[in-house]
Symmetry: C2
Subunit: 199 residues, 2 copies
DNA sequence: GTCTATATGTGGATAGAC
DNA sequence: GTCTATCCACATATAGAC
């Protein structure tokens, strides 16, 4: 007859090692690029043989998937916090936009994983993707509160934002040549939406 | 004493084979993805062993570089043709924009190579990059004729365009959910530039 | 849970015969 | 110029001992 322990030390240890493995994977990705993340490299960093990682993850893609999910959850958490901070709809929208851009710019590797998705053969699972859907919902809800409901305008808005971020990464990594125009781009977009409505 | 031939048949043959190799590489890239382009795969397609390709290109990167150069030259040729077609500055600008967007959308693989640049370790040579610089010059010249000279606006414009194209590829490949808004985005941008100038 | 050993596959590149 | 043979490095993944 087994005694049920207050804490499941074994499970805790396991979860801890899983976190370590993911942290190592992020380190490698940031230092050497996403393509350089290999089981060997991860193993070397956590002090294990590559093969032993299979005790924690079913495959390399499972590691990618966990990274993808982690990143999206972090973004969602920040977007929800920004959303809950109050103010006028426009203030909230501007704040949310800045939170998003800051998140994207602060970790190019993470952005590449979440937004560009260049990993050959990797398709995120539905669970890992779920927070991304919620984040987009927050954005469309924010636009709706500003009276922007036309799907065409929502698409244009996502294009504006992703364009700024993409150009920033591609042509001025680490700088702010494009992202410093966020507020001007918001102005431009809102003026357009307003003008369009009054027609 | 050697006779100088009218035509250099040997050089012509060599150039022909080089073209064949590049064509095969493009085919593989379009069918299976840019990452699947390997010397073995190219060799199989042109009826050679992979090793024999070294008689035509110094390395795999040299093949990438030639592809990159080809793509940029094709784009530049189209942009120059659009530029030479006359009309008002605004007509020319709109036409050039459509030519660019069409070019980007018609071959996602080529766009990935030219604009996203996800190939690990590949850095284009200065020669291969030169036409890209000229293309950008054409764009800024077109904006200048419209009275748009502020570098900030030029950057915003490039972000708008790349954002539309990126979203198109990422979320509606093969469709036109984003690119159909090109003219509206041009309107929005030009209105913003005008309003900004009148301040 | 971690190891050694191994299977199996990919890739780029070089040497030398013909 | 093309071939065979070979090297080398790297990858994911499995089997089985401890």
């Amino acid at each position: 007859m087994s005694v049920i322990p207050i804490r499941d030390r074994k499970a805790e240890r396991r979860a801890g090692t899983r976190s370590e493995i993911l942290a190592a994977a992020w380190e490698i990705a940031r230092e050497d690029g996403l393509a350089e993340v290999s089981l060997r490299a991860i193993g070397a960093r956590v002090g294990m043989r590559a093969q032993s990682l299979y005790s924690y993850f079913d495959s390399k893609h499972a590691i990618y998937d966990a990274m993808f999910g982690e990143g999206n959850e972090e973004l969602l958490a920040r977007m929800e916090a920004a959303d809950a901070a109050g103010g006028t709809p426009e203030q909230a929208f501007r704040r949310g936009t800045h939170v998003f851009v800051d998140f994207a710019v602060e970790d190019p590797t993470r952005s590449q994983m979440l937004f560009v998705r260049t990993l050959p053969g990797f398709v995120p699972s539905a669970e890992a993707y779920a927070p991304a859907v919620r984040t987009l919902d927050l954005t469309t809800a924010g636009l709706e509160r500003l009276g922007v409901t036309d799907p065409a305008l929502v698409d244009i808005w996502t294009a504006l934002l992703s364009g700024l971020i993409q150009q920033q990464f591609a042509n001025d990594p680490g700088g702010d040549r494009w992202t410093r125009h966020v507020d001007e781009v918001i102005d431009m977009f809102l003026a357009h939406a307003k003008r369009r409505k009054s027609r």
